[in-house]
């Protein structure tokens, strides 16, 4: 019980600190340019950490994350425009009013995105590896195409007039909730089930884990969190365009988590910050900017294929480093073949290939 109380106190302190910092950033002490990048990093963190839950921890290669982000962004924007703003004014147009309106908007966005995740996840999570990747990519695109046709949210012209809330407090509250949420999920019976699915689906089933159900649940949670990230983005500039949620955005988030290390929360946070800051930091190089950016990514992937923070030191995030038990070669292949036991076993060498479970074939 005391532990519970301690956690509660920590939570309150964090909220207080965030709220305090909010005034620092709202003031003119820090340049708006810097604040903007910081807030965008916060949004990226939410997206990367949530994607890591399904890609890194559960081992299901999904690349339609931007689609769920779009669902969250658009649904919450619609909510804010039609109800939220009025609600905030009714409650006095002050801090409290906007707090309530934004909380509701975030919940609406997350709920819609989670529902979209359920719709996509149920049929597609029967597939594995490359197939799952392609199907999720397709669904992500469908969502964007769909948004293009809905006139009520601006269609292809984009959706403008969304209330702008450039708040350090909100962005990082959502980011921290996502991090803590994913960390707590991963370090629980639920999380062990997810990781066991990544490691060996057959063994996981034999231990009584309903792998399909867990994959779908992880997918839904991950989508919901992406939706919350979308909510932040929607209220960031007050303008949304379906184009910004195309697959290129999904890949960007994917690069963040691969760069940071699949299955590492801290890695995702680092990857998110790095990929948000780097293009800005390289502005000085003018036209060579994207070239240098790409080269840096290539160098990093060659030197550290498992990402900044190793792949499977994952379970407790950065605390434990068990990569020494796996050679680098295994890690590279494990990433590509996570869902394909036959290839993985072949590369693990010491184990015999057991693609067919009944390897005892009568002659």
């Amino acid at each position: 019980m005391s532990r519970y109380l301690r956690n509660l106190i920590i939570a309150l302190v964090v909220i207080a600190v965030l709220y305090g910092l909010n005034f620092v950033f709202a003031g003119r002490m820090i340049s708006p340019y810097f604040t903007r990048i910081l807030l965008l990093s916060g949004i990226s963190i939410t997206l990367a950490v949530s994607l890591n839950l399904i890609n890194g921890f559960t081992g299901q290669f999904s690349i339609g994350h931007a689609g769920f982000m779009a669902v969250g962004a658009y649904s919450s924007a619609y909510f804010s425009v039609t109800y939220g703003a009025r609600l905030a004014v009714a409650l006095g147009d002050g801090t409290l009013g906007w707090f309530v309106a934004l909380t509701l908007a975030t919940l609406v966005g997350a709920a819609f995105a989670a529902f979209a995740g359920l719709l996509v996840g149920v049929p597609s999570l029967r597939l594995k590896g490359d197939y799952l990747a392609i199907v999720t990519l397709g669904f992500g695109q469908i969502i964007v195409v769909f948004l293009n046709t809905i006139e009520v949210v601006g269609g292809a012209r984009g959706y403008s007039g969304i209330p702008i809330v450039k708040s350090f407090f909100w962005v990082f509250l959502v980011a921290i909730l996502t991090i803590v949420g994913v960390y707590n999920i991963v370090n629980s019976a639920f999380g062990r089930a997810l990781i066991s699915i990544r490691e060996d689906e057959l063994a996981a089933e034999a231990m009584g884990i309903n792998t399909t159900r867990y994959k779908v649940m992880a997918f839904v949670i991950s989508s919901g969190m992406a939706g919350a990230g979308g909510v932040l983005l929607a209220h960031f500039d007050g303008y949304l365009n379906p184009k910004s949620f195309e697959f290129i955005k999904s890949f960007e988030i994917l690069i963040m988590i691969i760069l940071g290390g699949l299955g590492s929360i801290v890695g995702s946070v680092l990857g998110a910050i790095l990929l948000t800051v780097l293009p800005e930091a390289l502005r000085g190089f003018a036209e060579y900017r994207m070239v240098i950016y790409s080269v840096l990514l290539i160098i990093l992937m060659i030197t550290r294929p498992q990402g900044l923070l190793g792949k499977t030191g994952s379970f407790k995030g950065w605390r434990r480093n068990r990569t020494k038990s796996r050679t680098e070669a295994e890690e590279i292949t494990a990433e590509d073949t996570r869902d394909n036991p036959s290839v993985e076993k072949a590369t693990l060498g010491e184990r015999q290939s057991d693609t067919s479970l009944g390897e005892e074939k009568p002659q």
Binding site: R3, A189, G208, F315, L357, E360
Partner: protein, 272 residues
């Protein structure tokens, strides 16, 4: 327990399917892969509390039988009953939930998890924490985790693995990995434990310890154990009844001493 001679073995095998004392029964269980009949009208009857051996030459279909019993494969025809309920057609996790747990011929531990985490994963069926409990770290979550941790450590202690609890599961020596798989299977609190070649890769003294251990866990947890094994010393030493399969068909069933001298079994193993 009746003893079966080699002549009676075939009929005994078919009787086994209707054995009322059996906790696990297969009735005319058959599986075909294309034109290949891997398991052919197999009747088995494993009685509660016994250690039952399943042996046969390479390729006889033993592992396929295990995969049928645990729901990895669905029988093409025939039925499987566990505790008088049909389990064929159920999915693996459902069968595990009913109290059937297994180990694998090719060790299938979770590589990135520690020894303790490997075992705790298998406590899953009995977890009382909800996802919400986990997210907010409620007292119920802490209590549940502590309970499972204690139980798993206790199990590891029995197998003398507790001191490796924080090491990577797959970084253990081979023999210990096999034992860890047994611990993991036990953590699901099964009634029936299927061991697929538990002594594979073990040296004679390790195999001897293993036999001791198998008996010990049977008594301690009130288990029924079905094991596939190639090491004849282990099979003859620990099993109370043995069924021999060849080409997916049951060819003999009986006490170890009868099986050892059964001409049909000798023929299957040594060839013509």
């Amino acid at each position: 327990m009746s003893t079966h001679t080699s002549n009676a073995a075939a009929s005994a095998a078919s009787v086994a399917g209707t054995d009322p004392a059996a906790i696990l029964k297969t009735d005319q269980c058959t599986i075909r892969f294309g034109g290949l009949v891997a398991v052919n009208e197999l009747n088995m009857g494993v009685r509660e509390g016994e250690i039952y051996g399943l042996i046969g030459p390479n390729g006889a279909g033993k592992t396929t039988i295990f995969n049928l019993l645990t729901g990895v494969y669905k029988p093409t025809s025939g039925e499987i009953h566990f505790q008088n309920q049909r389990i064929d057609g159920l999915r693996s996790y459902e069968i595990a939930g009913r109290g059937v747990s297994r180990t694998f011929q090719n060790i299938r531990l979770f590589p990135s998890m520690s020894v303790l985490e490997n075992v705790m994963t298998a406590c899953h069926i009995h977890a009382k924490q909800s996802l919400f409990d986990a997210v907010i770290r409620s007292p119920r979550f802490e209590r549940d985790e502590a309970e499972h941790r204690a139980y798993c450590l206790e199990l590891l202690e029995i197998f003398d693995l507790a001191r490796y609890k924080d090491e990577g599961g797959t970084s253990l020596p081979y023999g210990n990995q096999r034992r860890l798989e047994i611990v993991r299977a036990l953590a699901t609190r099964p009634k029936l434990l299927l061991l697929d070649e538990p002594a594979a890769g073990m040296n004679p003294s390790e195999a001897l310890d293993l036999m001791e251990l198998i008996r010990k866990i049977r008594d301690r947890f009130g288990l029924t154990i079905l094991l596939v094994e190639h090491n004849m010393k282990v099979v003859m030493g620990v099993c109370e009844r043995i069924q021999v399969v060849d080409y997916g068909k049951s060819i003999a069933l009986g006490l170890p001493v009868d099986i050892k001298n059964d001409p049909k079994v000798i023929e299957a193993y040594l060839g013509d």
